[in-house]
Amino acid sequence: MFISKATLFGLSILIAGTIAIIRHDRINRVILPFILCVWIGGINEILSYFLWETGHSTLINNNIYVLAEAILFLVFFKNIGIFEKYLWLFGIVITGWIGLWFWETLILGKINFVSSWFRITYSFLIVLMGITGINKLMLLDINKPIGTNSSNIFKNPVFLICIGSIVFFTFKLIVEIFWFYGLNASKDFRLDVYDILIYINLIVNLVYALAVLWIPAKQQYILL
């Protein structure tokens, strides 16, 4: 029961993915890393389901997925102008993440375990980037890169993606810290926490679907 609900809710990411396919020729390149992330997320959910059903571990594909997710979110935040004045910081973060991932999963040989250090670090930084994105959006108007003119903030895709990221990754951060300290030893506790996480995942996936729906079309001409 738990697995089916988790899978079903996890697959809700495909709503955003489907909307992205329908609107693929209208979607701005700035938002493309996020769309890719949505699709990789959807594929990972399907893969995890089949691996689980056939009695295999899902940790390898999930460990690879978190690296892809982290990098794609980072590139998305770069595209919307978070690193506008600090491009060197983007280089440091991406190098640091890839280095940390390799160190934890390959050098320490934890490919078959949860890569806690990497997950804690990237969740934490994505939350900070999401906060920066929202503040920049509200106070400095970063609509320009994706050309949205909507005055309703709740119809702004950048705002929705940032809010979704903050909510999901804040909870994920807390969960990863708990797991890091071995609080997942109790199966009941672990399942209860995952139960909350899958509901948050569902809500965030629906928010992402709205974000993709409200991504403005590419500008067909240049105003001089």
């Binding site: 934490f124 939350v127 900070l128 906060i131 920066t132 503040n135 920049k136 509200m138 106070l139 400095l140 804040t170 951060l173 807390i174 810290i177 708990f178 890091f180 300290y181 071995g182 609080l183």
Partner: protein
Amino acid sequence: MDSRETTIYIAIVVACIMIGFIILYFFISIIRHQRQNLALRKKNILQEIAGLEKERARIASDFHDELGPLLSAVKMRINSFELPDAEDREELEKTNNLIDDVIKRIRQISYNLMPSTLLKKGLVKALMEYVDFLNSSTHIQFTFIHQEDCIINEEKSINIYRIVQEIIHNSVKHAAATAIRIELKKQGNKIHLSVMDNGIGFDYNKVMAVNTGIGLKSLGNRAQMTGGKMFLKSSENNGTNYLFEIPI
């Protein structure tokens, strides 16, 4: 606490620290972006004002240097006609007067746009000229008290001159003032400009709420542009006193 409880305790503390840091970052980020936003807006306003002044100077120069001489040439040409008929000569005289009026008006517009005295002789002389002009052309009594050593750079002079123009425009148009007193003093490394009128005054909050206070905002922007501060004292039926503190 046993070891299990200690682990739970540490996990909760670490999670709280992380969340605390996120909240702190949120506030720091808001403040930082708010400051950036203000700086950006200020920069835009300053650029807008600088562009406006440049454009005014260009138009004033075009009026003064091109239209003025052209009209003078027209006047000379029509005066070169020898007209035997008295009626025609009378018409010519009327045309001459009209051309004189146009030349005078062009000079006046050009002067309002960018007073040549301001650029050539400085702020004090320009304000003296302006006050003389106002005294001779309006029924309001203008007084200008100044120190001769109020020397300030051209950019700031233009802004101070515009501030005075804007205040006088407000006082004449809205305050029904009968007397306006302008004071320009140097104190230390600051210029103090004070403009007082005996008009009906106003409630600052009401003005800003009702008609968006464009004139007052413009004064504030000009003061900002000079790097100075603006102070305002006004209440209904008690006149208005504007005070500007501008660094030299």
